[in-house]
Symmetry: C2
Subunit: 215 residues, 2 copies
Amino acid sequence: MTGSIALNLRIEVAPLAIRAERLEALLVREPTGWRLPGGLLETGENLDAAARRHLTEQTGLDEAYLEQLYTFSPSESAAGKLAVTVAYYALLARDAFPDEPAADGRGQMVWSPVAALPDSLRDPVGIVTLAHRRLASKLAYSTIALQLMPERFTLTELQAVHEIVSGETLDKRNFRKRILALDCIEATGDAARRGGHRPARLYRAKRSGQVDFIK
Amino acid sequence: MTGSIALNLRIEVAPLAIRAERLEALLVREPTGWRLPGGLLETGENLDAAARRHLTEQTGLDEAYLEQLYTFSPSESAAGKLAVTVAYYALLARDAFPDEPAADGRGQMVWSPVAALPDSLRDPVGIVTLAHRRLASKLAYSTIALQLMPERFTLTELQAVHEIVSGETLDKRNFRKRILALDCIEATGDAARRGGHRPARLYRAKRSGQVDFIK
DNA sequence: TATATTAGTGTCGATTCTACACTATTGCGG
DNA sequence: CCGCAATAGTGTAGAATCGACACTAATATA
């Protein structure tokens, strides 16, 4: 009933964030190109913890929302060895990562738009694409978009995140009605004065860090 | 970046079916009680194939709808070894399994209502409970319930399956309107005459074996 | 032939969704 | 300081969908 075999159990994490009006993934350099952060499971470590550890060690990012995506076992496993990959995705709030990834002792990193990944990661059934799809579908029935927002944000910014992830433009009034009815955000009281126009009211998540299901 | 470690990678499958107006799971005997069908991954084998193989070998059931559920790594892993379990669930059509599991050379088996599992499997975050939840939520946005139906079935039977899985009673007319509007089933032309009452029209899935997403 | 039992069918009000346009407030430049 | 450019913020009405609800139809059996 029990036993053990030579196994290559990798964990890979697709770290996603909104940058420059696009959904982007953070990649780390490997000798032959770019890859997602990840690595092996350590003895006694649990999968969620390992995903978080690899993400933090390789990118310096902490404070991400992490969720398991799927477990892959490509048929082309190395001879005599099993290759199994447990995939996660991480959502980074806009104020949880620097504008440009600083390679402070760590390997080189790059943000890549998910719509234009390097060849090695461009795959219609790959982790990043799957993560994007999962995220887009969760927009409809959860408050997951808040995980991509900074601590304080405007409704226009939140709408932009929804539009970027879903790829569809939304009506401003309908969006506001719908979001406010969810009772998941609250006005902070002050406003963002950015640019030569009327300031926008700033909101914050009511239950920050928590993803609620809707309806 | 690559390597391998002593690892206990199990696959477990929760085989689910509607029996006696309940959702039940098929369990196999182990020395200390009951467990879900499952076992280890073989070299060169892919996870889906392994799940199907263990299910077939241990229960004799083929022709199930299989879907990966989640990958678990309990913190209480045996000392020095990692315990990782990839969980699947299997949906058995009503005509794809015998009324009582025949232990033809195989170990003993039992169908257990998911609401009354043996202690060893009763777990609010366990595989069977999770599979039940996944199935119930998929009722709302897919045609997955058809995987639990025999080849030909009545609308009343299909409604009963929805009610059993979701735990909610449904309005007969609204249910029929909704299902027929999905264009996922078609009348076979003949009727089921069972008992002293008006016979029911028999339907079949239009795209049998395939689970469509709704809307 | 009467009875019991399940199959099968439509409407209406309530709710939700969707499309749609103008006023408000600021910064900046002339 | 005044006008302009730019974004914020707000309500309504028609369409579509949802949900409640009750009777007739067809068969087996006694």
